[in-house]
């Protein structure tokens, strides 16, 4: 059992490499502007506006069911917006030609067919965006799954599946990372690895947007914070601005959302 949340060696710590053939402008800001998403009569996302800037880790926080995943799904072109817009580098996700070279994404709940081998799963993703095959090996090595690359995903632990998802997000060496609950299933060492990865990504001038309901881990990672509750933004700003007057991000979160039920430490 790896300390990273599954079998196999811990992930390698190494530089992420340089930007390759991305379609971004070099200033890949994520802009969410007046975004709404309604499911029948329920407003999952209601007039949400915020920006995630390059060189910074932006944490998108909220209790379960607050509208985080719905917002990210609209941003990534998986769901249609009821109103407003969500742009990456000034363009809709679906307008990017080989999107994975610009945006790496991890979706909560979406995964590979369990009977497929991890290396095969990453290979089809790489082929779809003309990403060199060698990159598949690189990302498997990067997330510590090189030895389990030929194992079927159904034999993976939750932590290993999460690592595989992160490997998929890193495949295209994207300048934007959008990660929905990236530390789910990871053990403390794995969580620290993800934190270092995201910090390193931001340090290279890339844009990182992650959703989470884990306050302590987020406080150690984020530069900027956006808190959503019941589909509406309750606060956005730098970590210092959001936590001003509160003992911690967690305390700020509870004070701002007024709901202890959905958040976890």
């Amino acid at each position: 059992m790896s300390p990273f949340g599954g079998r196999g060696p811990a992930p390698r710590r190494r530089r992420l490499g340089t930007f390759v053939q991305s379609e971004g402008s070099g200033c890949a800001v994520i802009e969410i502007n007046g975004l709404s998403k309604h499911y029948r009569n329920r407003k999952a996302v209601d007039d949400v506006t915020f920006t995630a800037r390059p060189g910074r880790v932006t944490a998108f926080l909220g209790p379960n069911g607050a509208g985080k995943s719905s917002t990210l799904r609209v941003l990534l072109g998986l769901d249609a917006a009821t109103g407003g817009r969500a742009l990456i580098g000034g363009r809709r996700y679906r307008d990017l030609r080989y999107p994975l070279r610009t945006v790496g994404a991890l979706l909560d709940g979406a995964g590979p067919v369990p009977e497929r081998r991890a290396i095969d799963h990453l290979s089809w993703i790489a082929r779809s965006n003309r990403i060199p095959r060698e990159r598949v090996r690189e990302v498997l090595d990067l997330v510590g799954l090189a030895d389990a690359a030929r194992h079927r995903v159904k034999n993976y632990s939750l932590g290993m599946r999460q690592r595989l998802g992160i490997a998929g997000a890193l495949l295209g060496e994207p300048e934007v990372l959008v990660l929905d609950e990236p530390v789910n299933g990871l053990d403390p060492d794995g969580i620290r690895w993800v934190r270092d990865l995201l910090r390193e990504h931001a340090a290279l001038g890339r844009t990182v947007l992650l959703s989470s309901h884990l306050m302590k881990e987020t406080a150690d990672t984020a530069d900027d914070v956006v808190i959503i509750n019941r589909g509406r933004i309750v606060v956005r700003g730098t970590l210092a601005e959001v936590t001003a007057g509160h003992a911690s991000l967690e305390a700020a979160f509870f004070a701002l959302t007024g709901d202890r039920s959905g958040a976890h430490r």
């Binding site: 799904r73 990534l76 072109g77 998986l78 769901d79 249609a80 996700y93 679906r94 990017l96 030609r97 080989y98 999107p99 994975l100 994404a105 979706l107 709940g109 979406a110 995964g111 590979p112 067919v113 369990p114 009977e115 497929r116 081998r117 095969d120 799963h121 290979s123 089809w124 993703i125 082929r127 779809s128 965006n129 003309r130 998929g168």
Partner: protein, 266 residues
């Protein structure tokens, strides 16, 4: 175009690395071999008794011109096994709805039309290879029976035309099943819909009371396309059969495209 090409290669990769697709392919091919073994001896006996004027009696009391009858039997054997191919197509399409893989697919290829075209091309390519293998197995068993009578029979234009019609049917019918499965978003439901379509023809109820309507169903169209009208009761001609199969594939593909574009990728 390169976007479609990359997406097609990705979709082909998905098919080739999907254990379910290999299992379904293996079962269909093995079943075809098994089904071909029992009648092989009977056909060899019938070929041995072909008259000097080229008449064979495969079914007692039904003398037929030998070459046409044997080629018809060969094509019919392939058609029979082709009925199982839509299951393979549904397994291929249905993988998207397991573990919500569709979300990852749309992330990688967010434009609906190139994605759908790539999926259809990859499936058509894979199915055509399987169909060619089925036709090859049918031809091999037929060759064993006819090699002492007319070893060149299976390399005639008519023989290749028969195989070509079968491959066309297999690809078009599989694309229909594939698109139906994408539309209804489930392997089992896709298979059930295809079985219902096949059953309409198998019961021959419509063929008796409304042959024009019967001719619009895919399996009836396949029979019209592939079988010899001199020996079989058919409800339309070959061209009509091909157009109907093409129409089903096209209409269901449009429906799948609309569904992919309108419904959310879950």
């Amino acid at each position: 175009m390169s976007e479609v090409s990359a997406a097609t290669r990705a979709e082909l990769s998905k098919i080739l690395t999907l254990p379910g697709a290999w299992i379904a392919t293996g079962v269909v091919l093995a079943l075809h071999v098994l089904v071909q073994i029992p009648p092989a001896g009977l056909l060899a006996d019938a070929v041995a008794n072909i008259t000097s004027d080229g008449v064979i009696e495969i079914f007692t009391g039904q003398p037929q011109p030998a070459a046409e009858a044997i080629l018809g039997l060969c094509t019919g054997a392939s058609l029979q096994m082709g009925l199982f191919l839509p299951v393979l197509a549904s397994v291929i399409a249905g993988q998207e709805f397991r573990s919500r893989q569709l979300g990852l697919t749309v992330l990688a290829m967010p434009r609906t039309v190139p994605l759908l075209v790539a999926k259809l091309l990859a499936t058509a390519l894979y199915v055509s290879v399987v169909a060619i293998l089925i036709a090859g197995i049918s031809a091999a068993f037929t060759y064993v029976a006819v090699k002492d009578w007319n070893p060149g029979l299976l390399v005639t234009g008519e023989a290749f035309l028969g195989h070509g019609r079968f491959v066309a049917f297999a690809v078009l019918f599989c694309l229909t099943a594939f698109a139906v499965t994408l539309t209804v978003r489930g392997t089992l439901t896709g298979v059930v819909v295809t079985v219902v379509l096949i059953t309409v023809t198998m019961t021959q109820v419509l063929a008796g009371i409304a042959p024009e309507v019967d001719a619009l169903f895919p399996l009836s169209a396949a029979r019209n396309l592939m079988l010899d009208p001199g020996v079989n009761d058919l409800t339309a001609g070959r061209t009509h059969g091909l157009l109907v199969l093409t129409g089903w594939a096209a209409a269901t593909s449009v429906a799948a495209g609309v569904t992919l574009g309108v419904r959310e990728a879950r």
